[in-house]
Subunit: 544 residues, 2 copies
């Protein structure tokens, strides 16, 4: 822990109340007033170095503007960010925002945030795993300066600035004297959404991208298709969509929808990594592409059921090359997630074509044929110039992958797996701890908060390979009705674990900041649910 972050922690501690002991059968906490108090104007996630003093300055909402130190280094990403952050700071809803319109900012109030971008940005810039998101933010009296090397750092700093400005009881906006030097601990801070088990509309995906940006997530892992439905509208293979989507007219993502989502994410410094999982989890692909899946047999006859992609015929790889070429052209990210998880061998075992192919190849185990399939797929995608992200099973089964492959660890026993995968020299992500679809009663965010990706046996070089992690919201019980409230602010706990220093790991110290952060999200229009016990937000969702 650096001295500077230590100062921040001391300040926070003062704002924390001791939570009540839970008692009685009902589990009610006996508490007058909120169970956890709220901080005012503290950022989430916690910056690497955060100094703040009790001295504050008014911010003049009427006069305020963002000022480029060097206009020639700006681009549309930055200009749009300014437009976005103005209402995020000062509120969209003057009729409900706790906002005394009679408040007149003093003449020495802050009227601008100076923004210094060292490396000029271009309108077409797209974020990468290696992007630099560091920034510094200095607020001194009515002077405020945000500096960053890359546009992505400016975006993160604007978010932080928007969080440290808060409304005081006289109705005025204020900001404390603050010095921040910040950069993420991990480069990959992802969220998986599953749009196959339930469809999630484009506007809700965009709302979630806003929430992600405000929690400094930077990868939308889009698990777009799976067994139940195939909402991706393919140009080359429209039949797969027409027969595999829940409804081919309404429950689909068109190429335009996808471009809009990628653009929306890009403007917020979020990469979109699409996952087309195979060879398992592909039931929905089969109806529109008849010979793709393995026919399952009962005795000597096909029984009408289908298993994973059939790894034997050449037609499979012709299809995959054509299909993934389309995907590679549509999605600009360097990485593509190729799945490879949970392949059931039962159907392969029943199929005589597979059995004879196994013999021909001298394979003694079905994981070898899985490896054969994955190796072919990886070669195809690698040939398209793309890197890939894969679930841990691909490595467990011994496939050879490109050096820049990112392996995602998701199974229980992740510590041993992380040790193994990093020993093999691969970049690694952790998601085991952060399956937010599994809900439980109470403050479950504390367990997400407590999961530390470095807690495995490994050398410093191995630890260096940890790129971060992903929180996953599988779609069995989630759709547009509840995905936002179930994700937020539970996912915020993961956001801080992935952004902030390892030492920022006390849920007890975090809860007052998280309570403020939750209310900030509510004020900004998100259905962020209460997760720290009884309490209230100055502005509530649905009125007040």
């Amino acid at each position: 822990m650096t001295m500077s972050s230590f100062v921040g922690i001391i300040l926070l501690l003062i704002a924390v109340e001791i939570p009540g002991s839970f008692q009685h059968d009902r589990g009610h906490s006996k508490f007058r007033g909120p169970q956890v108090s709220q901080t005012a104007g503290t950022p989430w996630p916690m910056p690497l170095s955060y100094h703040t003093q009790a001295t504050f300055t008014y911010v003049d909402a009427g006069e305020f503007k963002f000022t480029d130190v060097d206009e020639s280094s700006s681009c549309s990403i930055l200009e749009e960010a300014y437009n976005r952050y103005f209402p995020l700071i000062f509120g969209r809803r003057p009729e409900t925002l706790f906002f005394k319109s009679s408040f007149k900012a003093p003449t020495d109030a802050m009227t601008e945030l100076m923004v210094k971008l060292e490396k000029p940005c271009k309108d077409t810039d797209y974020p990468m795993l290696e992007s630099d998101e560091s920034y510094t933010l200095d607020v001194n009296g009515n002077q405020a300066m945000l500096s960053a090397s890359e546009i992505w750092g400016v975006l993160r700093g604007l978010e932080t600035f928007s969080q440290i400005v808060y409304q005081s009881n006289d109705g005025g906006f204020v900001v404390n004297n603050t010095q921040i030097v910040d950069k993420p601990r991990f480069n990959h801070r992802g969220m998986l959404l599953d749009t196959s088990r339930h469809f999630i509309s484009v506007p809700i995906l965009m709302t979630n991208l806003d929430a992600m940006a405000q929690n400094k997530f930077n990868v939308f892992h889009w698990h777009i298709v799976d067994d139940p439905s195939f909402p991706y509208q393919s140009e080359k293979f429209p039949k797969i969509t027409n027969m595999g989507a829940y409804d081919p007219e309404t429950h689909v993502y068109t190429q335009t929808d996808i471009k809009n989502i990628i653009e929306y994410a890009r403007m917020r410094g979020i990469r979109v990594v699409p996952e087309f999982d195979s060879p398992g989890h592909t039931s929905s692909w089969g109806y529109g592409q008849p010979d793709l899946l393995t026919k399952c047999y009962t005795g000597s006859q096909p029984n009408g059921q289908f298993g994973p992609v059939n790894p034997v015929p050449n037609s499979t790889y012709v299809f995959l090359k054509s299909f993934f070429t389309e995907i590679a052209q549509l999605f600009p990210d360097h990485y593509m997630h190729l799945g490879g998880d949970e392949v059931s061998f039962a159907c392969w075992q029943s199929n005589p074509e597979i059995t004879s192919f196994m013999k021909k190849m001298g394979y003694t185990s079905y994981s070898q044929i899985e490896e054969y399939y994955m190796q072919n797929l990886l070669n195809i995608v690698g040939g398209l110039g793309k890197g890939y992200q894969i679930w841990q099973e691909v490595i467990d089964n011994g496939a050879k992958v490109r050096a820049d492959t990112v392996v995602e660890v998701w199974k229980a026993g992740w510590e041993a797996e992380m040790e193994k995968v990093t020993k093999l020299g691969y970049k690694t992500l952790l998601s085991t701890c952060w399956y937010l679809n599994y809900i439980s009663y109470g403050s479950d965010w504390m367990a997400y908060y407590g999961c530390e990706p470095f807690n495995f046996n490994g050398t410093d070089a191995q630890k260096q390979l940890i790129q971060g992690g992903e929180t996953c919201m599988w779609g069995e019980y989630v759709d547009g009705t509840n995905v936002i409230s179930r994700l937020w602010p539970r996912a915020s706990a993961v956001g801080e674990r992935l952004w902030s220093a390892k030492e920022i790991n006390s849920a007890f110290l975090a809860q007052s900041r998280l309570t403020e952060h939750r209310c900030r999200m509510v004020r900004r229009g998100f259905q962020a649910e209460p997760i720290t016990g009884p309490g209230f937000c100055r502005e509530e969702f649905g009125g007040v």
Copy 2:
């Protein structure tokens, strides 16, 4: 089981798919398409007797109207219901509703529902525990007739009619030939919301009342105040609100708010039973009414903490009489919930005034002083002409209560408690099984559905005393952001248990109807979450 309901079940069975076995670590079900199919135009909760045939008639949305058989028996409750049900049947959103505007209903389409109300209603009618909610509904070709004795039965029948009309694939609205004879199994089908731990705005409470009516709930148990906050705006004791509410300007229910909520509920045949829980759960009362609560002692000195209401001084009862007189005048329902649960004796034990009072009265246990308090409170409220509903502890502690008292059983071991309370001759409600605040992963509604209030040892006379039950949503982790999606359709399972025949108890048979019902609620604008695994609604929340 009657023969008639048996016919309905057979029809439903056909629409049910076998759910997939869950496999793999992630718990994903491997399924192409929805895990559970949906019925079309079946009602929830299941009527007592439900015959339906495959023969259907078109309903002409453009010409359709509700027709009173005898206009002189109508009243504003009925007229407003007609206005409400038209868009519930035909949709509010032509741009998103699956609605082919080019569809032209045939000339022999249904154009009216005849409504026969035997007992004329009055504009001021208010529902009661004893209200008659029975109705019959007969659809034969293009003729449809709804008959009921009381307005409350008409409301229930209109809801059922609105559910059996559905949209066919050609875009037309259709209704199957159907004969329904229906009445609730239980007269009291309640839902508790807690507005003290988190505030819930008036618009969201009203949205929830709509959802309740559409699930045939008829009691809103409003747990309005508790330890954390006191949002009830008292006219006689404004200081309690000013000091006890989270925010006395925004986080309060004014007398007008409450009247509006009662009126909104009344129009939907829903009673509003307010709960002002005492002597425990009253921390928030104490700041604005300084001598009300017991001072807790450490040794011989007050330690600054407060316990339950102080049962000793006369001033306590002067206050209670004045306060509950205001409540009795504001809330028209015959019943008032007086709480009486979870009284902690620790503070009373520490207080010398209580100790000497105990001696004076010859009490040997603190439950006797609790009984003393409750007895006084019950006498006060009884003197105001009101009946009361209480938590089980009041009876467990031996208080004498009025013969019309309704005892609410909420603790584990409810079977023995129900046996005991009914043996004492009291009307009884069950809520133990239906604490919806306790969430868990997956289809938890099946357990709610399986809980049978008659499953205790008792005579028929004892069973007759069961008035129904209540589902409870305590507010630790719920506010306007998530209360609707967390309640619905999980609470629908309780709604069917309380309305439908005891024999309608197979969650397996229910799931296709519940899946349709969930999508119907989504189409009507509710954030009703998915609870039967992967699938979709023709119209989704947030688009499509």
